[in-house]
């Protein structure tokens, strides 16, 4: 009891304001594969709890961005805003351009606080400023109404639901396909208000079983082909954002 009091007093005196432990629910934005990214959108690494002194800077080498059209590094600043780390490009993103960006494990300076980023946040991702749409993942998801239905994670938000959708199952064309469109927030996890709605999920009201082959056209885009396997769009969304469990 005495030692516990001493520790409590010591904590009070030192204004113990460090995090008790890192949260594992960091994420990146835009997510891997996202398209239709705004020209002025910053790249975000939300750490979910940065184990560093307040205002302690993050080295510029933490985030590297490459223009995949010309292979050149993109100039910009890595800045810290609380538990978030941003990459602010010096100039706006170029239109209709695909970029790759990486978050890198960085060594601490000698005699300095050590960087402890969640491992899931370290890696590479791509994004695109074009308005093109891509299907990033497709699976049999039972999140909605406890029914297994084929759902696709799209690379951008869909604002006009009256799209021309063509769907085949095992090569057989389905007519009058009904579908619902959701934004990412409706799948139980909003990765950041600034980025929603940034992608969409479309679920088709068709009878499909595991192992069936789906072929999808969306307006003039496609086809995307996938063999149906049970899964969860929420998990796919989290993986694309590199969110922790």
């Amino acid at each position: 009891m005495v030692s516990r009091n001493i520790i409590a007093i010591a904590c009070l005196l030192s204004a113990c304001n460090g995090p008790a432990g890192r949260q594992a629910d960091g994420f990146i934005g835009p997510m891997d594969g996202q398209t239709h990214v705004a020209k002025d959108q910053a790249l975000l690494v939300s750490t979910g709890g940065l184990d560093l002194p307040e205002k302690y800077a993050i080295p510029q080498s933490f985030i590297r961005v490459v223009n995949l059209a010309d292979g050149g590094f993109v100039a910009g600043d890595v800045v810290r805003e609380g538990d978030d780390i941003l990459f602010l490009p010096t100039k706006a993103w170029k239109a209709n351009t695909r970029y790759a960006w990486s978050t890198n494990q960085i060594p601490a300076l000698p005699r300095s606080p050590e960087y402890q980023f969640p491992k899931a946040l370290i890696g590479e991702a791509v994004f695109d400023t074009s308005s093109g749409m891509d299907v990033l993942d497709m699976m049999l998801d039972d999140t909605r109404d406890d029914l297994e239905q084929p759902c696709a994670l799209l690379s951008r938000a869909i604002v006009a639901p009256n799209a021309l959708v063509v769907l085949t199952v095992n090569g057989e064309l389905l007519e009058d396909v009904n579908y619902d469109i959701y934004d990412e927030e409706e799948w139980g996890e909003a990765f950041d208000a600034d980025y929603a709605p940034s992608v969409s999920v479309v679920c088709f009201d068709v009878d499909v079983s595991a192992g069936d082959s789906l072929r999808l056209w969306w307006n003039e885009s496609g086809p995307w082909v996938a063999t149906m396997e049970p899964g969860h769009i929420e998990t796919a969304l989290r993986n694309r954002h590199r969110g922790g469990s």
Binding site: S14, C16, L109, P110, S112
Partner: protein, 291 residues
């Protein structure tokens, strides 16, 4: 011994140093009779105070002085090498009241950050020691505590509690023993509890136990060398060796210079996530003045 010498010198300087006015008794005594050695063996506090005036006691890098006079010091620890870059300038003052001594030190750090070099105040350390005996073997016990007066220097030189913002206290024991006329053994032990702001590699709350041993060897009338080894846990540099040369150009002024070798840091045996290797050594400089 020192008080005895001083009293003897005072006696030589006076016509009638011992107040012996009865000439008949003086005639009955032999030539050494006025020196009643037995009565002078135990110096009074006044004797000790007078004797220690202007005297700088032996001390190590982490071992504090015992006895001596009030003093001030300015110290510079510069970590040199590839893993260096942290410089610590410390203002130190110590006042002595009979058997009690209180010392205050305030370090000021210059160090590297991702934004470039910066400076900040370290932790204010207050240390109080009570001398329990002052024969050839001097024992002392005390306490120290540190807190941060507002700086945020998230760095360190070789000691965990010096700069990194935090608060804590230690119970102290020190000993100084004369091994020979010109050699003193210095020992220090401490244990305590400390809290920091908990960013890696520092724990939020940690106990600390430390032990230091040193030798002060006078090699010439004005010159001496000091060797010290320190083990401590939890610490950023658990085991280290220090060597210093001290020079007293005039009475009451002492300049010291030397190096600290962080042996366990070189071996990679630290709580810091860095591989082993000899990438640093700390230059130690200080100048002390008795007041």
């Amino acid at each position: 011994m020192i008080s005895l010498l001083i009293l003897c010198s005072l006696a030589i300087a006076q016509d009638d140093p011992w107040g012996v006015e009865d000439t008949s008794s003086a005639e009955e005594s032999d030539s050494t009779a006025p020196f009643v050695i037995e009565d002078l063996d135990t110096p009074t506090k006044e004797d000790r105070k007078r004797a220690s005036s202007g005297e700088l006691s032996p001390q190590g890098h982490r071992i504090s002085p015992l006895g001596g006079s009030h003093n001030m010091a300015l110290a510079e620890d510069a970590v040199l090498g590839g893993d260096g870059g942290t410089n610590v300038t410390t203002l130190y003052t110590r006042v002595v009241f009979d058997d009690y001594a209180v010392a205050i030190s305030l370090p000021f750090a210059a160090y590297r950050t991702p934004d470039g070099r910066t400076t900040d105040l370290g932790n204010l350390l207050v240390e109080g020691l009570v001398t329990l005996s002052s024969d050839d073997v001097v024992h002392a016990v005390g306490l120290d505590f540190h807190f941060n007066p507002g700086g945020q220097p998230f760095t360190w030189a070789n000691e965990a509690e010096e700069l990194w913002p935090g608060v804590g206290a230690n119970a102290l024991y020190q000993m100084r023993m004369a091994l020979a006329d010109d050699t003193a053994l210095l020992l220090r032990g401490s244990f305590g509890i400390h809290a920091s702001q908990g960013f890696e590699p520092f724990p939020k709350v940690y106990p600390r136990i430390g032990a230091s041993a040193g030798i002060d060897q006078t090699v010439a009338p004005l010159v001496g060398i000091v060797g010290e080894t320190t083990f401590s846990y939890w610490d950023v540099s658990p085991w280290e060796l220090a060597g210093l040369l001290r020079v007293d150009p005039v009475t009451g002024i002492r300049a010291r210079g030397g190096f600290l070798f962080p042996v366990f840091t070189w071996a990679g045996a630290t709580p810091i996530d860095r591989p082993g290797g000899m990438r640093e050594v700390t230059l130690l400089l200080d100048i002390q003045m008795a007041i």
